[in-house]
Amino acid sequence: MIDLKRVRTFGLIAGGTLSFVAAIGMVESFNERTLINPGITMGLLLILGIAAVFGYIVAAGKPNPLVETARDSRSGGIAGGLTGAIAGVVTSLFVLFVDTFDVSEFFPNMREPLVEAMTFELGVPVGLLVLTAVVTATAAAGGAFHGMSDSFRAGMSRALGWVVAFALFELVVSEILDFADPLVDLIYAPRGGLQPWAAVIIGALAWWLSTRYKGRGEAFTERVKDSEAGSRLRRSVILFGVAAVIILPMIVGGVVNELLITSGLFILMGLGLNIVVGLAGLLDLGYVAFFAVGAYGTAILTSPSSPAFAPGLSWWIALPIVMVLAAIAGLFVGTPVIRMRGDYLAIVTLGFGEIVRILLLSDWLTPIFGGAQGITRIPGIPVPGAGTISGTDPQLFIYFTFMFVLLAAYISYRAQNSRIGRSWAAMREDEDVAEAIGISTVQAKLLAFVTGAVIASFAGALFSAKVGTVFTNSFDVLVSIIILVVVIVGGMGSIRGVVVGALVLIGILGGPKSPGLLAEFSEFKLLIYGALLVYMMLKRPEGLLPSVRRSRELHGEDLTQDAWLDKGGDFTGDSAEEEATT
């Protein structure tokens, strides 16, 4: 059965989405990147991807936990195709509109290049028909995919996934395969993009491997999870991880290392904010202020050209001083907001963050902080025997980042599973009761603020040493929000989550000022972050890699349902027990 109402709704939404990505110029700028030579560009992938996803969603129907959705590739394909057709027509109408009326005075992207990109440079009547046909076919394929057998789905998605990954991450692949230069030249076209035959081989290989070693990966993860803390298996996994982390920076080049460093700084800040938001439940939107304290503190203490006071200390001596400064800043911000309820706290901390930035920029404090000129000539991190390491040497600098990330992760891990972590968890769940059972919430909150601030100051100190100059525009609200997005996408309260969140978001899409691995996204990343924040809150509030406690909290309702079922069992157990006692 095809749910026509659903087809209509999602067809319109898909058409709107396609028109929207065209209107903001995403298709055009993605078209500049060739994925598979010739012709298959990232822009095309975007169009196909949207069509396929909507086709799949329509075919999957409304999720209903009680009824297993019937999987039938024919009706799925038809539903998907219809959805695609509607989407194609809507998008074509939009392109036609742009082609007919000149609205570029108000909408700078809605002009000729957009029409060309959307019609595959075939001109209006023909190109629009092709567009509609392509979108319909892809959506139909997406719909049909839902009805395919599990092994086909697994093989197909692996194959597509690997091909797209090889194409998208051309830079990383060619850097890793640097030693096999001829192979790289063989599979990638000279001007970028996979060679078609290489794409076919990669796809086939991935498919074959996925069927050959079906379920092995999952089984292995399970085994590692079940293994005991000190067991050989686990030790070798950890050893392998450590080795990978040590070797990786050596084999990838400067660009990737640069991205890893930036991601590392965000992992650090994410871990710090995770303590404040994820563990203690205090939504701090001015977290960047502590990063600024770390960065400016280091700059003033180490740079010879600091305007007012230039002691020219070594980075290693500046670090503890900066940590103390950040801790004081944490107390200073934390104390006035301590009795405020959650949402006021969010806005007030946001205000604090902005006050700090405005003051740093103001003429009043320019004699100390350098105002708009910032502070320059910050030396790097001196290492005995290796000179001074700064951002110009990303392959070495990255190890400092790793070191501090490890430290912060260790602190978070220890704190989380201790008396302090439990008091934070209790406070997050019910502040009044936490207070009533003997937890000083004032202390617990301040401790969270201070710990978070100190971790942010690590990031700030590293940032100063890496970049060599600090300007106020590295510290605006945007940074606070992006750190929050990292924490939320990764999973509030989850250390692994923050790491993965920062790598995916900052490393691939890009940080507030710097592009990520996919530089094409840099214009749109903030839009994507916003959408991601909403999506995660609606569909997966516990994040990609959730912490156990948090996901319980956020899915409280569903679990209570289970608990109710569970209670049936519990009840019999309880009464059996009672029978025995009476």
Partner: protein, 366 residues
């Protein structure tokens, strides 16, 4: 950084006093700084330095007109907070979206001469477009992003609204481009000075205050006297019981967002008249300041929102020169926004429930 639970009574008592004394320290030093600043400024004024009497008057007038605009945006925050108990962080973007879209109509009318030929009609058209778009955006945000989250832990909708705010900002940046655009100048002879109570005031500023006051009275009437307004207050008190009493809770909440959005749309027109420059980030600062205004007046309290807006407008326009200049700080106009944020912090330290107290519902406020 170490937590200790030393058993001696004195240290425990001391620790609690420590937070309180820190708060008192902030209160007292803020007061002292303000007093010294004002004394300094008065001295400067008497010595004939600093701004002249006329400049002061102009500052007060701009403060009032900006303040009324903040007040209108603040109404949206206040109503949503009153009814749903969460801060709709994206409300500033609701305001921005109406402003952006109405810019198209204004520019077109300006280009073909309609703008200056029929000022009243032109402004009404712009006003209705701005209101319509803002309302639409507010309602859509509620439907898509906030409704599924009713009953979720408190911070979840707040975080969602931050996402909505970001999404709207950059969606508008994508569609309209990132360049700052300018609204056509106030139509007809609105830009000229008008004699009012013996003072020459720019016509637009007078209009801004007038429009804001009319909207305020209209809104008050709506909430206090109409059936929908009563439903809103009931939902604010207790959603479940209101639902049991036969009130359509969903519709009432949508209405709340719609009315808040419409007020933001009106504020959009006022912004266009006052400042003229518009870009995709235009909503951010006024949004936060309007929230400050809502808190200042007592969140959930509609007259409070208006009062808070006016006071905040005065603070940030007059405050830097009145207080900071007197303290001998250079280039005080740069610190305008910092003054507004400092006002927020101080209000919450001095009087967390705002000047007129919180109203509407009192559900889960703990």
């Amino acid at each position: 950084m170490t937590t200790t639970t030393s058993p001696s009574k004195t240290s425990r008592r001391f620790r609690f006093n420590w937070v309180d004394s820190f708060l008192w320290f902030i209160r007292v030093s803020a007061l002292i700084a303000i007093v010294i600043g004002i004394v300094g400024s008065v001295q400067l004024f008497l010595e004939g330095e600093g701004p002249t009497a006329e400049q002061w008057r102009d500052l007060v007038i701009s403060g009032l007109s900006t303040g009324f605009m903040y007040g209108l945006i603040a109404l949206g925050y206040s109503m949503v907070y009153g009814v749903l108990g969460f801060i709709n962080f994206a409300h500033g973007e609701v305001f921005m979206s109406g402003l952006m879209v109405s810019l198209i109509a204004a520019t077109l009318m300006f280009e073909n001469g309609f703008w200056d030929a029929n000022p009243t009609l032109a402004l009404l058209i712009v006003l209705s477009i701005s209101m319509l778009v803002s309302t639409l955006v507010a309602v859509l945000a509620e439907r898509i992003a906030y409704r599924p989250l009713r009953g979720a832990p408190r911070l979840i909708p707040l975080i969602t609204s931050i996402g909505v705010s970001f999404f709207l900002q950059y969606a508008f940046a994508g569609i309209f481009g990132v360049a700052t655009r300018s609204y056509p100048p106030a139509p007809g002879n609105l830009g000229n000075d008008v004699e009012f109570l013996g003072i020459a005031i720019e016509g637009t500023k007078l209009l801004v205050v007038g429009v804001a006051l009319i909207s305020m009275v209209g809104l008050w009437w709506f909430v206090a006297k109409t059936k929908t307004g009563r439903a809103m207050r009931a939902v604010a008190e207790d959603k479940e019981i209101a639902g049991l009493m036969g009130i359509n809770v969903d519709r009432t909440i949508v209405t709340t967002f719609a009315v808040g959005g419409a007020m933001a749309g009106v504020a959009g027109l006022l912004w266009a008249l006052l400042f003229r420059a518009v870009d995709f980030l235009t909503g951010f600062l006024p949004g936060i300041k309007a929230f400050t205004a809502a808190v200042l007046g007592g969140i959930g309290n509609l007259p409070g929102a208006m009062l808070g807006g006016v006071l905040l407008g005065l603070f940030e326009n007059v405050g830097p020169l009145l207080v900071l200049n007197g303290l001998g700080i250079p280039a005080v106009s740069q610190l305008k926004d910092a003054v507004a944020f400092a006002a927020l912090v101080l209000v919450l330290v001095f009087r967390p429930t705002g000047l007129l107290g919180e109203r509407l519902g009192s559900e889960d406020r703990a």
